[in-house]
Every structure is written in structure tokens, then in C-alpha cells.
């Protein structure tokens, strides 16, 4: 029996085709069947979008789910609920769990848990090196066959140049993506926030932005000699944006993403040792923040990821240097990204491309577009609605967000996977 759902009265936004107009979308059996005006109802279930925006569901290309191993901080179920509330329809987990995702049975475990939870689609990267130890390559071919979307050592850099060269080189055998946490570990060692006046005044050991730039510049050389497919995660400095801009101009197969803290905050958010503002890489100077915005505007930065990193209170209620890094991000990703549009810095369709189309392209996922035949994964949102971020309303197990209380604009109303609604904003339901 076929199921038919008709989404009516929507402002359809599709970055891939530059589509921005009122219309309807007919979904049959989980896939987009037709896009048009006043489509025939034909016994379909009707979802009236009430004139609000309907865009491809967000593809969040970097989250930490803490399952398996640290289920007290997050599980696939709680992260799935948080993602659904954030308009995320596909999220890709880092392999830094316990055990590390470096065996294909664990890739299959993630797929099975994703089906069990039945919310946002959960995919995973696999470790680039066994046990994330940075020495021996993992079975990239078999892991990719099992469904791993790319290879990364998670929140650790692939530091050894020979290992990185071999990882990139071996990955070309199967045309696979290698994703780097771009931070030179020796330069960053012991650091807690960006080196500079504020760190000096607070008496905190700093990390120079060069730690990021050096690693990216090194990697770009290795990409050049290996022909590998390379992605730099959470780019946060002017120097890194500039290096990647030049690499793209040279035609290298290089992409990158950033995360909301790097365009919505700067190092002043650390204030008086606010550990919720401790992230990795650290919050940067205002100059770097502006460079990230510019990178998003000119397309040097391809994607925006939440960099969701749940940390419980015990990990954050500590002196700044001892506190864990990271912030939860799934439920604030869309409104923070929309700030770029509301501030006039990045056009709306381009913001949406960075949230869905580009990450889907980088990861080669059938997502991120409103094309006929595509899976019907949507986010329906009120573009204008002003509201205040409140961590108490989060679905995530953890509340470590520096954005608590921030006035913002734009709110997820409904999240749809394969035509099925997995989240509805009760307060503002359409």
C-alpha cells in the first residue's frame, strides 16, 4: 500500500536549484514525487505548512553521540530527539566512542541503532587509524563497504605526516574522504583558549591560531602529492580560510566546514572562565570570526556542522583548564546559522546550502536537495519567529551550551524523514 503525503502552502527553498517560491510537495512512499502548485490531494495526508519555509533537512556532518561507551552523556535516542528538534535529518557521528569505531561490525552497529531509534538518520565516520592512535591505518575499504562515510581520528589530529600521507594515499584507492581535526597537537598542547590578550589576562595557557593553519597547510601539501580527498573540520581562523581558498583555486580536492561558535561567538565569550565557552578549537579573535563569516559568504567554507559535543556537569563544573571541551549544538544549529542571513552576511539559500546540500555532496549522500525521486527529508521552519534559546528545553542529555538565553530568530516547526514527521514544535505547530 502506498502512503501519500502532501505538503501544501510552503515556501519551498532548494539551494541546489536556487528555488525559492510558494508551492506544494507530494511525497509518495518516502520520496519526493512531485513539486508544483496546488497539487491534487488524491487522498493524501495533508500537511499545511502555513506559508513557512520548507527546505532540505539539515545534514549535520559532525556530531559526537557518546554511544557506545558514554551513554550517561548522550545516547543515539537522546541525540536523535535533539537532532529531530533541530531540523537535522541526517547526522554523522565521529568515531571517538568506546570502543572506537574502527571495525566494520561497529559501523553496522551504528546503522542498526539508527534504525531502532527511528528518528534522525545516523551515519558514522570510521577511525582513520586503529584505536585513534595515529599509527596504523584502519581497513578503510571494508569499513566504507559497511557504510562508513569517511575517515577521521575524531577530535584528535592525524598528526604524523607519514601516516597522513598514507591515509590520503590509501583512501584514493577507493576514492574515500579523509577528514582532519586540524590542530598541530604539539603546538596546542596544554592550551585552553586562543593565545592573546584575554588568555594572558586570565592567566590561561593559550593556543596560537598557527596550530590550525600549520596543520592545514601541511595537509594541503600532502593532498597535492597524493591526490586525496580531504576535508578540514571546524575551520576557525583567517589563516586557515585563506589557505583553503587558495587550495581550491589551485583545483585541489579540498572542502571544509565550520561550526556556530566560530561565526556566532568570539573569545570574549569566555568571560570569567565560562567553561561552556571552552571548545576545541578554541573561540577565536573577532578578526578570525569575521574571516569565517567571509569564508561562508564566498563559499570557501562549504558546510556548517553543529560539532555537537555533549559534556555532563561533572566535566564542565571544573576550573577552566581542567574542564572538558565542547558544546551541544544540534538544537541551536539552524537559528544560529540563520543569524548569518538575518544579519545580511550570507544569503538565505547559501546558508541552507551549507546546512544540507554541500555536506550531502561532500559525503555523497542522497540528501540535501528537493529533487523528484529524492528521499523526502525536510525541515519546515518559521524564518522570522524571535525566541530565546533555553537549554532547559533541550532534548539532549546535556546542557552545555554557551548560547543559553541568547535571543535568536528562526525556529524549527517540523522535521520530516522520508515523508514521516519525526518532530513537531508543539508551541508553534503548523
Amino acid at each position: 500500500m502506498t502512503t501519500r503525503t502532501l505538503f501544501t502552502q510552503a515556501r519551498l527553498l532548494d539551494p541546489a536549484t536556487r528555488l525559492d517560491r510558494k508551492g506544494d510537495i507530494l511525497v509518495i512512499d518516502g520520496c519526493i514525487a512531485q513539486i508544483g502548485d496546488r497539487l491534487a490531494r488524491d487522498g493524501a495526508e495533508i500537511v499545511d505548512c502555513g506559508g513557512h519555509c520548507l527546505a532540505p533537512g539539515i545534514v549535520d556532518m559532525r556530531v559526537q553521540l557518546r554511544e557506545p561507551g558514554d551513554e550517561h552523556q548522550e545516547t543515539m535516542a537522546t541525540a536523535g530527539a535533539a537532532a529531530a528538534a533541530g531540523g537535522v535529518t541526517t547526522m554523522v557521528a565521529l568515531p571517538n566512542t568506546d570502543p572506537v569505531i574502527d571495525e566494520f561490525a561497529l559501523v553496522e552497529f551504528v546503522a542498526r541503532r539508527s534504525r531502532d531509534v527511528g528518528l534522525t538518520r545516523i551515519r558514522t565516520y570510521a577511525a582513520a587509524t586503529k584505536g585513534l592512535r595515529g599509527k596504523e591505518l584502519t581497513e578503510m575499504g571494508l569499513l566504507a563497504r559497511a557504510g562508513a562515510l569517511g575517515f577521521t581520528d575524531g577530535i584528535a589530529a592525524i598528526a604524523d605526516a607519514v601516516v597522513m600521507r598514507r591515509a590520503l594515499s590509501y583512501a584514493t584507492t577507493f576514492d574515500l574522504l579523509v577528514m582532519q581535526h586540524p590542530e598541530e597537537p604539539r603546538l596546542a598542547e596544554g592550551g585552553t583558549m586562543t593565545e592573546g590578550e584575554i588568555a594572558t589576562r586570565l592567566g590561561l595557557p593559550g593556543i596560537n591560531p598557527a596550530a590550525e593553519i600549520i596543520m592545514i597547510e601541511r595537509d594541503l601539501r600532502l593532498v597535492e602529492i597524493t591526490g586525496g580527498r580531504y576535508h578540514a573540520a571546524h575551520v576557525s581562523t583567517a589563516g586557515a580560510v585563506d589557505a583553503i581558498r587558495r587550495a581550491k583555486a589551485r583545483g585541489l580536492s579540498v572542502t571544509c566546514d565550520t561550526a556556530p561558535p566560530y561565526f556566532a561567538l568570539n573569545e570574549t565569550a569566555v568571560g570569567e572562565y565560562r567553561t561552556f565557552a571552552k571548545v576545541s578549537p578554541p573561540l577565536r579573535s573577532e578578526e578570525d570570526r569575521r574571516a569565517v563569516v567571509e569564508g561562508l559568504r564566498d563559499g570557501t567554507i562549504d558546510a556548517i556542522a553543529s560539532d555537537h559535543a555533549p559534556q555532563d556537569q561533572e566535566s564542565k563544573r571544573l576550573p577552566f583548564a581542567s574542564a572538558a571541551s565542547g558544546m551541544v549544538g544540534l538544537e541551536t544549529l539552524l537559528p544560529l546559522a540563520l543569524e548569518l542571513h538575518h544579519n545580511g552576511h550570507v544569503p538565505l539559500l547559501q546558508v541552507l546550502a551549507a546546512l544540507s546540500q554541500r555536506p550531502a555532496e561532500i559525503l555523497r549522500l542522497p540528501a540535501g536537495k528537493l529533487g523528484e525521486g529524492m528521499p523526502a527529508d525536510f525541515v519546515i521552519f518559521d524564518l522570522e519567529l524571535p525566541w530565546r534559546i533555553a537549554v532547559d528545553a533541550f532534548h539532549s542529555k546535556c546542557r552545555n551550551s554557551p548560547f543559553d538565553g541568547r535571543p535568536t530568530q528562526g525556529r524549527v516547526l517540523r522535521t520530516v524523514i522520508a515523508g514521516r514527521t519525526i518532530y513537531r514544535d508543539d508551541a508553534k505547530a503548523s
Binding site: 586503529k130 581497513e139 578503510m140 575499504g141 571494508l142 594515499s169 590509501y170 584514493t172 584507492t173 597524493t226
Partner: protein, 321 residues
């Protein structure tokens, strides 16, 4: 069969590599080798063309089949063969390569057969001695008699080399066998492909005149010959390839991958094989398609031909390379 020279004189003083040999040189050596195949199958294998000649097997790297093959070749031609290995006392005591060469040279050998773990070492040695030198494998550079015995095996089974498509699969980066075979097959007009993960291919492999593949199904498509290379154990564990399991899955030769090749494609391996790593045991033992044991047999014939050719070579011509 007579003891007279059966081919025109070999125009090189040494056999240091396939590079530098002309198609005629190669054909002459193969023709000469072919005459020994039947001879080696007789009960009486002894001949006298190298009577009175001294041949020294000088192996700085362990080897069983190559050393034995050369030793048999020399003895069957009536020569006096002496084996010296890396355990030889003065080498162990720290004597330099050149001093060793000079010492041996003073004993007036006629042919030195040398294997050395460093590329170029055999050539260096050849420059210091008066006798003929055969390279029995130098580092990752050349192993000319292996390429010749492979060519002889192919020619015997296929009747020709020209126009055949040969896929060389596996650890090309560290393989002297691959380099010599690529040289020889290209010289003789065969089409050569290499199939390997990117980490096992040396830089700019294409410039050697081969087509590069990373996928066995594509690389073996319609080939006449599948030549497997040995993957050394220390290269399997995470540095060049992640695991034995993954390597076998994607690059190990089994019947499924072999389906892409021509139905009468031959399977070759220079030995020693890692069964279950680069080659499935059933494929290796397939009597219709695997010519791995025949390669060993051809080895003796080829080495007899090389020893004989070099012993008869004029002493006043320039070195081959």
C-alpha cells in the same frame, strides 16, 4: 645438443638489469634458454660448456630458490660454483662491499652472481671487478633473471610476448621483480598494467609505461597474464595496507576476481607465496592456469643461458648499463 655457442654473442659484459637490453638481446637469451628446458628434464643433465670456470654466488640477502637455481645452472654446465652468503665471516666482520669485491676479484672468478638489499649495489660491485656480474636482485631495482624466466614461461605457453596484456598485481612499490618485468614486457611489445592500492605504487608509476588500476575487476579485465607479487609481512600491518584481511578482500587473487581475465589467462607468482594474502590457495594450485611451478623450472634454464652467454661474451665491450 652441442657445446658450441648456439646464439650470436651476447653484447654485454654484465647482466645488471633488463633496462639496456634490446629486443634482440632478450630474444637471444630466451632462445638459448629454451634449448635447456628439455635438457633439464633428462636424467643426465651434465654439460661442459662452463668447464674450468669459477662461479661465485654472493648473496647479501637470504634466498633459497634463486641461489639454488643459479647453483644448479652453473653445475649443470660443468662450472665450479661456490656459495657465499651474508653470514660469510668477513662481511659479518664489517668488510665494505668494495673490499669484498676486490678480495673475490683477486681469486679470478669468471662470473659473480650477486644479490644485495640495496638498489645499485650490484652495479657498484660490477665496476670494481674484472669478471662478469649477474644481478640476482638488488634492493627494489632489478631482478633480470626473474623477468627472463617469467618471459620464457609466458612464451612457452602463449607462443609470444608481443600483443599480450599482462597485469602485475600487488606490492609494485617495493618490487624489483615488477620493475624488471615492466621493462622486459614493454621492450617486447606486451601491454602492461599494474593493479595495487595507491600506497603500494611508487610515484609516477605511469611514466614506466604502464596503465594503473586500483580495482582488480577493472585491472584484470581481459588480460592474458596475471602476475601476482609477494606482499611482505611487515608491510601488511597498518603502514602500507591496513590488514591482511582487507588486502586479500580487495587485492588477493581468487576465482571471483579472476573471472575478469581471459578464460585462458595464466597465473604467475615469483614466489615465495603468501597463500591467503595475495593469492587464494586453490588458484595457486590450479593445474590448468597456474604456472607457478613451471616458473621455477624455467628459472634453471634461463640461468644456464645467462651464465653461458656471459661466459662467452667478449671482454672488451662496454657494460650494459
Amino acid at each position: 645438443m652441442t657445446d658450441e655457442p648456439t646464439s650470436s654473442a651476447f653484447p654485454h659484459r654484465h647482466l645488471l638489469g633488463i633496462e639496456g637490453l634490446s629486443p634482440d638481446d632478450i630474444t637471444a637469451l630466451l632462445d638459448r634458454s629454451e634449448r635447456y628446458i628439455e635438457h633439464n628434464r633428462q636424467a643426465d643433465k651434465k654439460r661442459s660448456s662452463l668447464r674450468g670456470r669459477t662461479i661465485i654466488n654472493l648473496f647479501f640477502e637470504s634466498s633459497t630458490r634463486t641461489r639454488t637455481s643459479f647453483e644448479l645452472a652453473g653445475k649443470r654446465l660443468g662450472g665450479d660454483v661456490i656459495n657465499m652468503s651474508a653470514q660469510w665471516s668477513s662481511i659479518k666482520k664489517g668488510e665494505t662491499l668494495i673490499d669484498t669485491a676486490m678480495t673475490l676479484n683477486a681469486m679470478h672468478p669468471d662470473v659473480l652472481i650477486v644479490r644485495h638489499p640495496e638498489s645499485g649495489a650490484v652495479q657498484l660491485l660490477s665496476e670494481k671487478v674484472d669478471c662478469a656480474v649477474i644481478n640476482a636482485g638488488d634492493g627494489m631495482h632489478e631482478h633480470p633473471t626473474q623477468a627472463l624466466l617469467d618471459a620464457l614461461t609466458i612464451r612457452l605457453r602463449k607462443g609470444r610476448l608481443q600483443g599480450l596484456t599482462v597485469a602485475i598485481c600487488g606490492d609494485v612499490a617495493h618490487s624489483r621483480v615488477a620493475r624488471s618485468n615492466i621493462q622486459l614486457l614493454n621492450t617486447m611489445g606486451a601491454r602492461v598494467r599494474v593493479v595495487a592500492p595507491r600506497t603500494l605504487l611508487p610515484a609516477e608509476t605511469e611514466r614506466l609505461g604502464v596503465e594503473v588500476f586500483h580495482d582488480m575487476a577493472l585491472g584484470l579485465k581481459d588480460v592474458d597474464i596475471v602476475m601476482m607479487l609477494r606482499l611482505q609481512l611487515e608491510r601488511m600491518q597498518g603502514s602500507f595496507v591496513p590488514s591482511l584481511r582487507e588486502y586479500f578482500h580487495f587485492f588477493g587473487l581468487d576465482y571471483q576476481k579472476l573471472e575478469a581475465a581471459k578464460p585462458d589467462a595464466l597465473i604467475m607468482h615469483p614466489g615465495p607465496m603468501n597463500r591467503g594474502v595475495e593469492i587464494d590457495t586453490e588458484v595457486a594450485d590450479d593445474i590448468d592456469r597456474s604456472v607457478i611451478r613451471q616458473q621455477v623450472e624455467m628459472g634453471v634454464a634461463v640461468r644456464m643461458a645467462c651464465l653461458e652467454a656471459l661466459s662467452q661474451a667478449p671482454r672488451n665491450v662496454a657494460p650494459a648499463t
